[in-house]
Symmetry: D2
Subunit: 138 residues, 4 copies
Amino acid sequence: MEPNSLLNEHSLEFRVRYQETDQMGVVYHGNYFTYFEMGRTELLRSAIGISYRDLEASETFMVIAKAECSYRKSAKYDDILTLKTRVIRMTRFKIEHEYRLFRDQELLAVGHTILVTVDRSGKLTAGPSWMQKYNSTN
Amino acid sequence: MEPNSLLNEHSLEFRVRYQETDQMGVVYHGNYFTYFEMGRTELLRSAIGISYRDLEASETFMVIAKAECSYRKSAKYDDILTLKTRVIRMTRFKIEHEYRLFRDQELLAVGHTILVTVDRSGKLTAGPSWMQKYNSTN
Amino acid sequence: MEPNSLLNEHSLEFRVRYQETDQMGVVYHGNYFTYFEMGRTELLRSAIGISYRDLEASETFMVIAKAECSYRKSAKYDDILTLKTRVIRMTRFKIEHEYRLFRDQELLAVGHTILVTVDRSGKLTAGPSWMQKYNSTN
Amino acid sequence: MEPNSLLNEHSLEFRVRYQETDQMGVVYHGNYFTYFEMGRTELLRSAIGISYRDLEASETFMVIAKAECSYRKSAKYDDILTLKTRVIRMTRFKIEHEYRLFRDQELLAVGHTILVTVDRSGKLTAGPSWMQKYNSTN
């Protein structure tokens, strides 16, 4: 597979769990970051054909350097949501994702994360070959 | 109490729970937003003398419009952390907080949130008097 | 639909999220109860054709009176799990579910919950007609 | 310290977080198991003088074999709760805890857990000396 396929948008559908709500009757805002994690995991699997689990098994870890989310409408219990995830920037050490969360056509939230690749000790380290290749050709 | 006391920094100490860790052996990044929520709740209680629970009971809700966090060092299980919270901007409808999370003198993360005040139906509404007063004099 | 269809086992497949792990490298034990909640929600939807969301909208709430889980093997990040849920006892006020969580053929955990039906104030109240009907014929 | 001090009841006070609530307006039932984890961690620290973090660092892990909770009254947002934790049974391989959760004098929930000691590979292994000593004299 080509690393450029990472730039394609990936779409993930899932249902909101009761546990994810808070007493305001909506999804607790911190849980959107769990959704984003699901989105980038599935994007990686579908675009590059590897699982993040295997990446960790090969001693490459992607840690969050920055995470943000803008909330427009609330997600609710039992909603079926669609999360659209894509990579908007990538170097040998860093991947930036953008996330857009929808309920049907309605945009609920937009998120961004920056991940950096580290080894088990937490030291910055070049990512896997598909990240390095991408960098060298852009 | 004076609304300006909201501008004072509030300090909260707490211990990391096992449940908050993930398999990387550190606190899961989404959980920092739960810490920030604890910080602004205690700032409100100590600066204005009211609980957010009472605020909701009076039909004023503060919902998250934006949340972000920059991660520098990982918090770990059983760490005693210190969260410093302050208000950096406030209008009749909106409060912006800044959060700095420390382990001893070491800065682990910096966060920001923007909250807007809404009624039960989710409609934007002016916040309680201490928010309105603040706005009128600034 | 017939209430007796609740006695059929329902099968739900889902993937373990990174957020659900802890630093032991396995799913945190408390999260199994979130899985069980997903199982009984989907059993209700498939057997009775209603969502728990609609049940709450009609002012019937099912609250947990007892929950337990026996853990045999650990679920891990990115595992695809199968949760088998069935009702093992039901009266007008109470439903008892049994849950068995599998990774392929391997049984990871067995759970039980007892739910009671209450109104918004928390007062014990007879459940919806399919619960009452069940009771009257058993 | 004496292992028998584990049999003394330990009392932990903490405040309910907004994140811990669900849309029923109460603490989500699965979160009680996080509270219980906090209780047994602090009991261990106060009775034996070691942290569970250090125990893991010495390659002894305590994994949950069974967990249960009976729910009587709901804990709510911002409540100050008191958790009373004690060991009710202990062998070289196993510890059983009992938990009682209070809001003031009101008993909200009663829990039990069984933990077994394993090594990093998950193999059953005798616990630390204070567990072995306890066993040999009882």
